[in-house]
């Protein structure tokens, strides 16, 4: 099916997707077999579930290939069957769907995140998705869906892979968010929507993790940041296990009552995820076809984003200029040497000073390699940086930075020439973002009208290429006052652009280059520019006079500048940990060791700082990437302290972790491990797909205080019960705790566990309570 045909359908009607498959396979007695393997071992069962959804009213069914990528199948021991599994899945779905039902190829996470949230190489991740997508496309699916993605960068890799394999098929993308409105790796729905509104997909949506009520809240946030059709597949609430079978607490009626709300919010595709059945789909289908209220187009709010942070245009974006080694030879040399410590320092300090976006200029690009750009992007991402302005001159390097960036960047910049602008347009189209458009072609016009005309010509070219003017920040060009340039030309250009509704920016500090009293000149000019409608500036947020002028002018205009959420703790070590600057932390720790016993530094100072990090995470003050960053940042210092102490430090307890047999999901368990290490526990991770027998053997050998089990799938939660019985039979007294997407407190008790953690933020408290 052509993408335009698919979008035409969505303009006219709401399409109903299918529901959950895991619980349906369990009902048919196939709970113990990985779902994808069923395609080969029992295709009749798969077809039966497909048919039940078709009969319930699904307009689209998904191939049974959710985990049929090479990495997941390798973990299940079925990598060699990947082609056969995907091919058969398409054939089975097509047979069940007949002529009327669309068949979309289903894809999801590799099970590992790309750098920096995980360890996987980004391009390798792209390859995995490209390979699966090309098989599904060649088998004749009507479209593709990438769903249940919890890391925005993995989803971006997946989209790029899919589009390399299949540029012409309709593509739906889905992320998954929890009830705090964040993905596992800290991305808010608005940031997700803004980036994927730019990228080459047709429908944006969410699935899994939460029921329809919370899904509706998330969909509404997404709707404000994209004009694309939306899609939703909520869970049927929370799972309930009666000792024999697993059910979910949202009845079809409970679930279907949100159908109209979803449609009103912009959803054109509605289905169900975990726990939903043909009964749910039948009722959704009823409400999706009666009383429709198809809304007209939405105009998305323009934002610049990183993985975790958002910079809004209204009323002003402060773009920090300090990540730029111009005139700072030592800084330039550090960058060339791949030492990004000062970059991270500048990022952290500008955030504190009130920047909302960070201009990132690595200086003389001839001295640098592609690795420099990839590394700096990942390092800033790891440090949960503010959104970035990619101030890069070499197009190939700008493209590389945009490719590896986890948000919606500001590309800085493009001139309106035949050579310069088209290359930036390519990057914008492929990787998304906003563009700083300079008011110059080959020359800089001397008059305001001339500069305005150049910008409007650039916007015309951008719009011809399908890029909205809302994605432009027009730079009216601040010139050196000391070189005799008249600042009123720039001010008048701002005014003309503002009257046209074009957002504007400038390199503020250029004004006073080579002049005395730079702050006063810059601050005064900024005030005048704000009066003419300036909406952002690349400037030094550390200049108190200039920042005072900014806050004062906006206040007098009745506008309030929202500063990024900065400095979450009074403890300076906590803030250094959250900056991700391991070397700076090590220096502090060494200084502390000069006046304190290393045991005190380890347990009472650094240990307490890490405990506070855990509490901040538990309270939702920081997000998972911050937590992982802090754990990673602390490692160098803990290693140093341990070398001084030589085994004097006692842990709070030994924890053995494992993902149960048949389950290959271990991201959540790794996060739990990191949180526990952060909290002072010794953690031994046995890995994934671990049998009860192996867990017993390791427990006897390692004598842990606690055994933590993870089971994500509805088909594997029951394994926890087997492990509990095996531990009891072996007379092992370690406490048993468990967690995972399909686990609940009630289930944990029924399975014989001593505790349950809903997510990683609760696990340290749980372990401390159990041991006390």
């Amino acid at each position: 099916m052509k993408r335009s045909e698919f979008l035409d359908i969505l303009d006219k009607k709401v399409l109903v997707l299918d529901g959950g498959y895991g619980t349906q396979f369990m009902k048919l007695g196939f709970g113990g077999i990985p779902g994808e393997v069923l395609n080969l071992q029992n295709p009749e069962a798969v077809e039966k579930v497909h048919r039940s959804y078709v009969e319930a009213g699904s307009n689209i069914i998904l191939t049974n290939t959710f985990s049929a990528n090479s990495l997941k199948l390798r973990a299940l021991g079925h990598e060699k069957d990947m082609i056969a599994i995907n091919r058969t899945a398409v054939a089975v779905a097509r047979r069940a769907g007949g002529r009327e039902t669309l068949v979309f190829g289903d894809m999801s996470s590799c099970g590992e995140f790309p750098v920096p949230a995980g360890t996987m190489d980004f391009d390798a991740c792209v390859d995995i998705f490209r390979t699966q997508a090309s098989i599904l496309a060649s088998e004749g699916v009507d479209g593709l869906i990438i769903e249940t993605m919890s890391d925005i960068k993995e989803l971006k890799a997946a989209l790029l892979g899919v589009r390399e394999a299949s540029p012409d098929l309709p593509l739906i993308v889905h992320m998954t968010f929890d009830e705090t409105f964040r993905s596992v790796t800290g991305t808010p729905p608005e940031a997700y929507a803004a980036l994927f509104d730019d990228l080459d997909c047709d429908v944006i949506g969410i699935n899994c993790s939460v029921g329809p009520a919370v899904s509706l809240d998330i969909i509404r946030k997404i709707a404000t940041h994209t004009s694309k059709p939306l899609s939703v597949e909520p869970n049927a609430g929370a799972p309930i296990f009666d000792g024999v079978k697993l059910t979910y607490n949202e009845t079809p009626e409970d679930f279907a009552m949100y159908t109209e709300d979803f449609i009103s919010a912009g959803c054109r595709i509605i289905g169900g995820c975990c726990g939903t059945s043909p009964d749910h789909i039948k009722l959704i289908s009823h409400f999706a076809t009666s009383g429709r209220n198809l809304k007209t187009a939405r105009t998305p709010v323009q934002i610049i984003t990183s993985r975790t942070a958002i910079a809004t245009m209204d009323p002003f974006i402060t773009i920090g200029e300090r990540i730029n080694p111009a005139g700072r030879d030592r800084f330039q040399k550090q960058i060339v040497d791949m030492n990004f410590s000062q970059v991270l320092d500048e990022a952290a300090s500008q955030k504190l000073q009130g920047a909302t976006v960070l201009d990132t200029n690595l200086g003389i690009e001839k001295l640098l390699t592609p690795e420099h750009f990839v590394k700096v992007i990942n390092e800033l991402d790891r440090a949960s940086s503010l959104p970035l302005s990619l101030d890069i001159q070499t197009p190939s390097m700008m493209e590389l930075a945009a490719r590896h960036y986890s948000g919606r960047p500001l590309l800085n910049s493009a001139r309106v020439t035949d050579k310069n602008l088209p290359r930036r347009i390519e990057i914008l189209k492929k990787y998304g973002g906003m563009l700083v458009l300079l008011a110059m072609g080959k020359e800089i016009p001397e008059t305001a009208r001339g500069r305005f005309d150049v910008i409007m010509e650039g916007i015309r070219i951008l719009e011809d290429a399908g890029i909205s003017r809302h994605r432009v920040l027009a730079d009216a060009l601040v010139m050196s006052f000391g070189a005799g340039k008249d600042p009123s030309v720039t001010l008048e250009t701002f005014k003309l652009l503002n009257e046209e509704g074009i957002k504007t920016t400038c390199g503020l500090s250029n004004l006073s280059f080579g002049m005395p009293d730079r702050s006063y000149l810059n601050g005064t000019f900024l005030t005048q520019a704000l009066d003419r409608g300036l909406t952002s500036a690349i400037m030094n947020p550390g200049d108190e006079f200039v920042m005072g002028c900014l806050y004062g002018t906006l206040s007098l205009a009745g506008k309030k500048l929202t500063r990024a959420d900065v400095r979450v703790s009074e403890n300076p070590l906590v803030n250094i940990l959250l900056e991700g600057n391991a070397e700076k932390l090590l220096k502090e720790i060494k200084d502390l060791c000069n006046i304190n016993d290393p045991v005190i530094v380890s347990q009472e100072i650094l240990g307490k700082a890490m405990e506070e990090i855990g509490i901040l995470y538990g309270n939702g003050k920081i997000y998972l990437p911050h937590l992982l960053l802090a754990a990673q940042t602390s490692q160098l210092s803990f290693d140093h302290l341990n070398s001084l102490l030589a085994g004097e430090v006692e842990s709070k307890g030994r924890v053995l972790l494992a993902t149960v047999e048949g389950d290959v999901h271990d991201i959540g368990k790794k996060i739990v491990g990191t949180v526990l290490k952060t909290g002072g526990f010794e953690v031994i991770d046995l890995g994934k797909d671990i049998s009860a027998q192996k867990i017993v053997e390791k427990a006897l050998e390692l004598k842990p205080d606690i055994i933590g089990l993870s089971a994500m799938m509805t088909t594997t939660v029951g394994r926890v019960s087997e492990v509990a019985a095996a531990l009891k039979a072996a007379d092992i007294n370690a406490k048993l705790i468990c967690g995972g997407a399909s686990m609940t407190s009630d289930l944990a008790i029924k399975f014989g566990a001593d505790g349950f953690a809903k997510n990683a933020s609760f696990v340290t408290d749980l372990c401390l309570k159990i041991l006390n």
């Binding site: 509706l216 009626e253 009666s290 009383g291």
Partner: protein, 174 residues
Amino acid sequence: MPLKKHYLNRARITGQLESDDPLRRIVDAIYKEGLTLVNPAIYFETLDISAVPQTFIPGKFAGAKRITLFASTLGLAVDDRIQDYMSRNMVLDSQLLDAWSSESLEALNDAFDTVLRNENGEGTIRFSPGYGDIAVNINRSFLEFLNVPCINAHSETGILTPVKSTTCMIGWYA
């Protein structure tokens, strides 16, 4: 199940309820509660027009050869809960549940209407006593005629108990 927009319209709630609007949670909770309270039932009979008492047949049914008489109800539990909310001064909850159950009953009647029309072909509008030329106080004899066990009508006012009940009829031309 009623359409949510009908439920909200009847409750005089217009526009989108934002996620942080506390009213949204109550609106959704009442919808779910309603689903647990109702015990819908329909009693019906399709007869030759000559077998139906003349006092039941509205003038608009001229030309009809057969008539389906039916009575529908959601049961007593929803009435009781509305009264319970009222007695506890939970006026909003009672008003929402009242609106929801009224629309639920309408949805029930619409669904049954569709079934009847599929079976009987062209017919008149769906008509209830109390409109046009048929007085509401025939309800008692209407229910007695249909032999409905669980819906009562006041002999003078025709008011039905459970409150969320209706009496209806449709004439068929074939």
